[in-house]
Each structure stands twice: as structure tokens, then as C-alpha cells.
Symmetry: C2
Subunit: 139 residues, 2 copies
DNA sequence: CTAAAACCTGACGTTGACGTCAGAGGCAAG
DNA sequence: CTTGCCTCTGACGTCAACGTCAGGTTTTAG
């Protein structure tokens, strides 16, 4: 891991001066991941004269959005394209098609996962009943 | 690719004698994937004296189930454990916990994807309206 | 019988999203 | 000024689920 407790000093947080470690702690993603996002042009940082990254406060939301899109199965190349659209709500026409395609893909995936969940439920229920293991009174 | 058209001859299919190429064609997965499943102990095959794999007809369903579980984000090590339970509906107690854990994970993932879908919808709707591009009359 | 198609076993290559390590600065506290 | 944590840039490692290629055997169509 990279961040545990954060003895950040006292009167930090000058608005727009979040360093990479703090951002990592705030979002729950690793420092490495944040640098990776920058490589992928998903996240930009202001650089101090010495080269250190400083993020605006909005970066927290942005990182969380990136995670959400990743979790939905979008590739980083896709995320790069759709990110600005989602944040600004201004969508270029070519991107619109991409959005629709991804939406459709997500929808299919949800459908599949609902089916899978039901199959797992069936097995779980069968097992519970076979064991007289009613799930509402485990005690 | 491995299978395109399948000039399989005429009086094949002696019940329980499906070869790997046919199974691939029937399930839509690649021959390589089927061999991989065997490596992972997800799929067993009878071997002819010369070493060729012959699958029972039930293999089709099994492969589809494997795919479904993969699509839901289960790892192959997990699939190995839960597969027999789902097929036979007989669940060992340790596996039961695993099933519940995976079910919960899937549930969370579905929730997340629903949120993501809504965000995409918002962007899509905003874009469509901005362009006067009602989705019901594209012409 | 012969040629084509399908199958076999290794074994190395691929892709994405990071993990991890090395070596070299930077920055607030005592 | 020194100590100790944080940060920097490479750059190689990882893991899963296959893809792909090589070299050889088997089955099938004609």
C-alpha cells in the first residue's frame, strides 16, 4: 500500500493543492493508479516547479467517475472519450454513437448478471432448504 | 480462427461423441478456450484411443454456463468450485459461503452498472435534446 | 490411397490495469 | 542541517483468458 494514516501537518489544503498521496487516500485508489490515469490522459495535474503533481479539488470526483466507468467494463480508451461528455454534458455527435453503444453493452451485461444471480440464488436456496438452514433465523 | 463452415459429413453425432471443433461451433467459443477450460478442470472429455477429445452432449450446456459465470466476473478458480453445485443443486457448506459472497459481489456490480447506465443516459438525453435529435424520428 | 481438414501437445505472445522495485530528488520539523 | 516521509521517473513484473504458431498425428472425403 501507499497511504495508511496521514499525518498531513496542520493547515494544509489550500484549495487546489491536493498532492497525489492525499488524492489517493481520498479516493481509495493507489498512487500508481493515479499516475497511470495521467498516462492515459484521463487525469491532468498542475505541476509545481519541482515537478510534483497538484490536483484541483474536482479531481476527487473525476477519479471516482473513472473508477465507476472502469467498473462498468469500459476500456480506458473509451473512458477518455466519454469522460468530458459526462462531466460537461456536452456531447459531440461521434461520441454520441459511442455512448449509445456502451449503454447497450452495459444493458446486456446487466441482463446477463441478473440471470447469473438468479442461478446462484437457486443453488443457495436449494442448499439452505436441504440443510433446514432458513436464512431469516440463523440463530 | 478455427472453425468456419463445418462440412461435417452426414451421419455423425452418435450421441456422446461430439468432437472439440463441433463443440466450439455449437457454443461459439474457440477450440483453444475449450482446451483451456480442461486445463482449469472446468470441463472433462473422454479420450479416444488416439487421444482425441469426445464430449457428452451435456457439455454444450456446461460450456455455456462457464461462459455465463465468466461474464459475471467469476474467476476460473471460483467457477471450478461453484459449477458442480449449480449443475447438481447439491451444495457443500463451505461452498455455500462462496456462493453467497459471489452473489453479493454480483449484486453490487449490478447496482454500480445501473448507476453508470443512468449517467450515460443523462448524457445521451442531454445531447439528443441539444441537437433536437429526438430518438424516435431520426429521419 | 491420397490429400485435405481436424486434432494433438507444447510453448510463447497479448492486453489491460495496475504492482513493485530502484535510484534520485523535494519538503516540513526539530 | 539532518532526518524521514513524500514524490519523481523509468522500467520490469503480474495475472487471467485466451490467441497464435510450430511440428506432428489422425480422421475423413473422394
Amino acid at each position: 500500500m501507499d497511504g495508511g494514516a496521514r499525518p498531513v501537518g496542520a493547515r494544509e489544503r489550500r484549495r487546489g493543492s491536493v498532492r497525489i498521496g492525499e488524492l489517493a487516500a481520498a479516493t481509495g485508489v493507489s498512487v500508481r493508479a493515479l499516475r497511470y490515469y495521467e498516462e492515459q490522459d484521463l487525469l491532468v495535474a498542475n505541476r509545481s516547479p519541482s515537478g510534483q503533481r497538484h490536483y484541483p479539488d474536482t479531481a476527487v470526483e473525476r477519479v471516482q467517475l473513472i473508477q465507476q466507468l472502469y467498473a462498468a467494463g469500459l476500456a480506458s480508451k473509451t473512458v477518455v472519450k466519454v469522460l468530458p461528455c459526462i462531466e460537461t454534458e456536452e456531447v459531440a455527435p461521434q461520441i454520441l454513437e459511442l455512448l449509445r453503444a456502451e449503454r447497450a453493452r452495459i444493458d446486456e451485461q446487466i441482463t446477463g448478471m441478473l440471470e447469473t444471480r438468479d442461478r446462484l440464488d437457486a443453488a443457495i436456496t436449494a442448499a439452505s432448504e436441504a440443510r433446514g438452514d432458513g436464512r431469516s433465523c440463523p440463530r
